[in-house]
């Protein structure tokens, strides 16, 4: 009996020692909604994690969970990570919000960060990226490069993030060509290469000569390449798939932000934050401008610089689709309106699905 007791105590001591050792080192954990092999949204977050590993080396331990479905299922994923001694947990999808918040309240000593949401706690901060900034530049390029004056836009779901992107793209295009037309096709999926390719074909067949997308796969760009048309990449630099078609790509570059937050956690200065980062923070990054003449490239670079300097694409005068005034001359939209955006700007010929 004594022997057994001794063995148990020894075992417990060892476990504690291991735990203590683990606690010395910061463990940063990531939860992804898709597979890291999607070459899109989750892939880019994973690249951010890789940047953290490169930057900190042995000082930080990292791990991730991929393909975690949004909703109640996510709660188990976050709880598991919290129990596995993760000190800093990044939930990278909007739909994780409530689950992550619940787990955050249960583990007050663990630091939580949630991407693209709006709920916070004493130990849970939020971060987001102004992807619309890149889309404004893309809209300008489209208007310059299009011969038909029509661009196609392949979209997933009518959430504010997507609507904001469409509006920004259109405002950019209208700044060059006031009569620019946008054909919008909803595929009702974030990721379905086949359907995205079909949508691209339909748009080209109907007169668009440039396409852009708010879905995750490289399929639409591949169609553009095949047809000798033009397009924009999404989330990651897709130039390999469309060397003659990609004009630029609106890439997500989470590395700098993740490194900053891990550093803060290491220093003990971490506090829940509420940030919306953009081109100026290098989180939204436009891939090299290709397949366009020098003057278009110069214009795109100038606009990129202007936005980096603090100019907001949603600066008045801007009118709603029904013709009513939204932003007065010189008025800049507040972030709250953008984050809840549920209307089109003037000139878009589509009914926003509800």
């Amino acid at each position: 009996m004594k022997k057994l007791l001794f063995a148990l105590t020894a075992a417990a001591a060892m476990v504690m020692a291991v735990n203590a050792q683990a606690a010395d080192k910061l463990k940063a954990c990531f939860v992804y909604v898709g597979p890291i092999g999607d070459f899109g949204y989750s892939y880019q977050h994973e690249q951010g994690r890789q940047d953290v590993i490169k930057h900190f080396g042995d000082k930080v331990e990292t791990t991730y969970l991929e393909n975690v479905s949004e909703g109640p299922d996510a709660e188990r994923a976050f709880e598991r990570l919290a129990r596995q001694n993760c000190n800093l947990i990044f939930g990278t999808s909007f739909g994780f919000m409530d689950s992550e918040l619940k787990v955050a309240k249960k583990f007050p000593k663990v630091m939580f960060e949630h991407a693209t949401g709006f709920k916070t706690a004493a130990n849970m901060g939020i971060y987001n990226a102004r992807f619309y900034e890149g889309r404004y530049v893309m809209g300008q390029i489209a208007a310059k490069m299009s011969k038909t004056g029509v661009a196609g836009y392949i979209v997933s779901f009518p959430i504010p993030e997507v609507v904001m992107g469409i509006n920004s793209f259109m405002l950019g295009a209208q700044s060059i060509n006031p009569d620019f037309k946008l054909k919008i096709v909803w595929v009702n999926s974030w990721f379905d290469p086949g359907k995205e390719a079909d949508a691209a074909k339909a748009l080209f067949d109907q007169g668009a000569d440039i396409i852009t997308q708010h879905t995750d796969s490289t399929a639409p760009l591949q169609v553009a390449e095949e047809r000798g048309k033009l397009g924009f990449g999404q989330s990651s630099d897709m130039i390999k798939f469309a060397p003659k078609a990609q004009l630029t790509s609106n890439t997500d570059n989470w590395g700098p932000y993740y490194i900053k937050r891990v550093q803060a956690a290491l220093d003990g200065t971490w506090k829940p934050d509420n940030v919306w980062l953009g081109i100026k923070d290098d989180v939204v990054k436009l891939a090299p401008f290709t397949n366009m003449p020098d003057d278009v490239k110069a214009m795109a670079e100038a606009t990129e610089k202007k936005i980096a300097g603090g100019w907001n694409p949603f600066t008045g005068p801007v009118y709603r689709q029904d013709g009513t005034e939204w932003l007065k001359d010189g008025e800049v939209s507040d972030d709250k309106t953008l984050l809840g955006m549920n209307f089109y700007v003037k000139g878009i010929d589509d009914k926003l699905p509800k």
């Binding site: 092999g37 909803w186 595929v187 009702n188 290469p193 086949g194 109907q206 796969s217 490289t218 591949q222």
Partner: protein, 324 residues
Amino acid sequence: MNILEAVLITIVTASTPLLIAAMGELVVERSGVLNLGVEGMMVMGSVSGFAAAYMTGSPWLGALAAIIVGAVFSLLFAFLTLTLVTNQVATGLALTLLGLGLSGMLGEPFVGHPGVRMDNIHIPGLSDLPLVGGLLFGEDPLFYISILLVIAVSWFLFKTRAGLTLRSVGDNHGSAHALGIPVIGIRYLAVMFGGACAGLAGAQLSLVYTPQWVENMTAGRGWIALALVVFASWRPWRVFAGAYLFGALTIAQLHVQAIDLNSLGFLPGPFYWLLAALKSVPTQFLSSLPYLATIVVLVLISRNRRLTMVNTPASLGRAFVPDR
């Protein structure tokens, strides 16, 4: 190329994978086995087809690899359900989950690389005919294979002795066994045929439809193929019609969304109003049409018991132990 031809060609590409996968599953179900693992076998075909084509440079070797991998992968299902007599529904679902996970792991090094495309055929003269040239004589090779597959399966099931035997196994495995027919052996072959077809259908996605590899790229097409078999009440030519109906619905709704009604004022009234009406329907509803159509067909055929009885393999999904 006019717009009608362009639309039709797009429909063909969208329908082919559904058709190939569903033809395979039709034979499996006709032998009395319900394999819900189509999605998993398909995605294994996508990854192996892409990988083989990428490494060898030959899309044909890719297609061959996908067929082999699909068949071998389905053997796992066959061994579990036929030899070990596990539950077919649960095993099929497990096969799908395994396929999705395994393909993601095996395919990791291939993410982010453009693939090798299987080129469309080109017959000088014929392929250049106006309107029908591209559609009938300039498609990708897998389209022709899919049509041959329908003819072959239809002939095999209803015109050959072997086909009759296979159907008898599916309709009453007890009697077939009593007659000395090797029930288990035939089902093994049927399941492997289904796996091979699913593999080829998956390769169509990664070699023709969208020449690339990304995880979960089948995006539910295996499930549509499964629904198609029921939709077609286990008849090969109805599967063919169904696959093209599903494909056409998908593509048509994308086109309807992109159409600019203002530029179509020249259309005769009824056509114009039809398009206008379609355009006002929520896109979410249009996207779900294939699934709704399947439900409607299921409701209709289950209303008529005799009709259902005639075509449904009576032993479908039921376990068979020879010595009982």
